[in-house]
Amino acid sequence: MIELRDVTKVFPGGTQAVDGITLVVHEGEFCVLLGPSGCGKTTTLKMINRLVPLTSGTITVGGRDIQKLRATELRRRIGYAIQEIGLFPHMTVAQNIATVPRLLGWRKAKRRARVRELLGLLGLTPVDEFLRRYPAELSGGQRQRVGVARALGADPAILLMDEPFGAIDPITRERLQDEFLRIQREIRKTVVFVTHDIHEAIKLGDKIALMKEGRLIQHATPSQLLAQPADDFVRGFVGTDRTLKALRLTSVREIMDSGPLSVRDDDSLAAARRAMDRLERSFLPVVGEDGLFLGWVGRNSVLGPPSVCVGDRITPYAVLGSPDMPLNEALALMLESATGNLPVTDEDRRLVGLVSFDRLFESLRQIYVEREAGEGSP
């Protein structure tokens, strides 16, 4: 747990970078420090590992006042990753990652095992190949991964990250974020993560601490922040498309119609017609004997002799969703393919659910209702 109480920082020049911040980050929580450039995010972060000395206030880490610990000892217990990465160019990837373990005096065999484990965890495979490389021999994304691996080196309970994915292309960044989320679910670190990207904050954070000019404006979960912005600054910062952003917080699994009504490819057209009449639908998904999703049949295509099977009249599908897809992506897919329904399949392409436009609309309305309720009360 990290606790900041009335923390301020005034730089020697007189700049008040941080102005009375009180913030608690619980064990295993992913807290994002968000705010416009120059609002004091980095300064706040660096005060936690004492790279920047406090002007006033107290910070405790794991219940202990950081001023009472030796700075080097404190820092060895806290993982630290920065946007510029700062890998040691004269050391191999393995030596870089083993930096803190070495400072802590781990034995060689233990260090080596840890390095291998981390390379595997961050997808830097083949491990034997990457161990030996020098930073100059890595791509930007790979360097960023090594930077994160190095921060995790001695398995610290706390991780401080300052825009660690800031300097890479959007696609790689997205992938690294996804991977980091997966890793975080596994390792459950207490993370303080700095970014000025609202999307990144919503995607990664359990909590978001929104800052402005050195002050904490709102500290809330991403959905609270989107649904109930504390003031105009927050409203402006999260953007007018905050409803769309909120869609990102819900996964397809949560709203999909599971065990959807479907017909088999070896059913007769007559059976399909009857099913449509009974269900009052003009489209039905078609699955094979093994449950694999094959496509759609519409009312127009099931007209014909009863001896013909549905399998012969299938309209192939254009897009597929997956249960873990956030709603904003599902909506984009539906808009793109101009269909009112999105089939949801598992990794083996078995049909597991259906998202209809109506369902999606329903959940959008939910967000509105929440927001109205939030803004109505002070």
């Binding site: 790279l51 820092r75 060895r76 630290y80 700062g86 191999t92 400072l103």
Partner: protein, 247 residues
């Protein structure tokens, strides 16, 4: 490869010149330095250069290091002032001053040369240490390295290419300047050159100058190889012109 070839040809030429001038034996009234004397002079020369270089390294690296520390950074402008002034003082004058202060002979020659060739090392050590990527230093600090650990494990290795370049520059400078040491009776190839000059005998000047140049070239190449090994692998790259400073 091509560079090696050129160096080799150059060395071969200089050596041929040395052998030829020595083989002349007598020119007019004068006797050229016999082979044994030439070899002795070469050995002396090498001794002077190595000892002076040792002094320069032993003093230069710590001075550069101290100047690069935050609390001494204010001394850096003084350093560059001293550097440029000292470089305008002719070697001859410097050697002369030291011979007056410390007497004629080998010792004052070595000290004078050491001081003269100190500057490239100080400057490059300083430059190498202050130019280290701040993000790398911040990462080192943020991970809990102590100040000495940052210096020895991060800053010094990172400064190594520049420090080695400084040592090379200073060594080459040393070989040439050591010729002047002959003037204050320290021996070396300078003595042969000086004698040649006073006798107005070009052949004898060449007899001393050619092996001096050959020595400079060989030492530079040798140090390049040594430097290649001293520089950490991840940092190896072809040196750029500016790495050698303005000398």
């Amino acid at each position: 490869m091509r560079r090696n070839m050129i160096l080799f040809l150059l060395l071969a030429g200089l050596l041929a010149l040395t052998v030829w001038t020595t083989s002349l034996g007598r020119v007019g009234f004068f006797t050229m330095a016999p082979p044994a004397k030439l070899l002795a002079a070469l050995r002396e020369h090498l001794e002077i250069v190595l000892l002076a270089e040792l002094c320069a390294v032993a003093a230069g690296i710590p001075i550069g290091l101290i100047l690069s520390r935050r609390s001494f950074r204010r001394g850096a402008p003084i350093l560059s002032a001293v550097t440029s002034i000292a470089q305008t003082v002719p070697t001859l004058a410097l050697v002369g001053i030291f011979s007056i202060l410390m007497g004629l002979g080998l010792r004052s020659a070595i000290v004078a040369l050491g001081v003269y060739t100190l500057l490239p090392i100080v400057r490059n050590t300083y430059a190498g240490l202050v130019s280290a990527d701040p993000a790398v230093k911040e990462a080192a600090r943020g991970m809990g390295m102590s100040t000495p650990q940052i210096l020895w494990r991060v800053e010094m290795p990172l400064a190594m290419p520049l420090i080695m370049a400084g040592i090379r520059t200073s060594t080459v400078l040393n070989v040439g300047s050591a010729a002047v040491a002959g003037m204050i009776g320290a021996g070396g190839l300078g003595e042969i050159i000086m004698t040649g000059v006073s006798l107005r005998l070009v052949e004898m000047v060449l007899q001393g100058a050619a092996p001096t140049a050959a020595l400079a070239i060989s030492l530079d190449r040798l140090l390049e190889i040594v430097a290649g090994r001293a520089v950490p692998r991840g940092l190896r790259r072809p040196l750029r012109r500016e790495d050698f400073g303005r000398t």
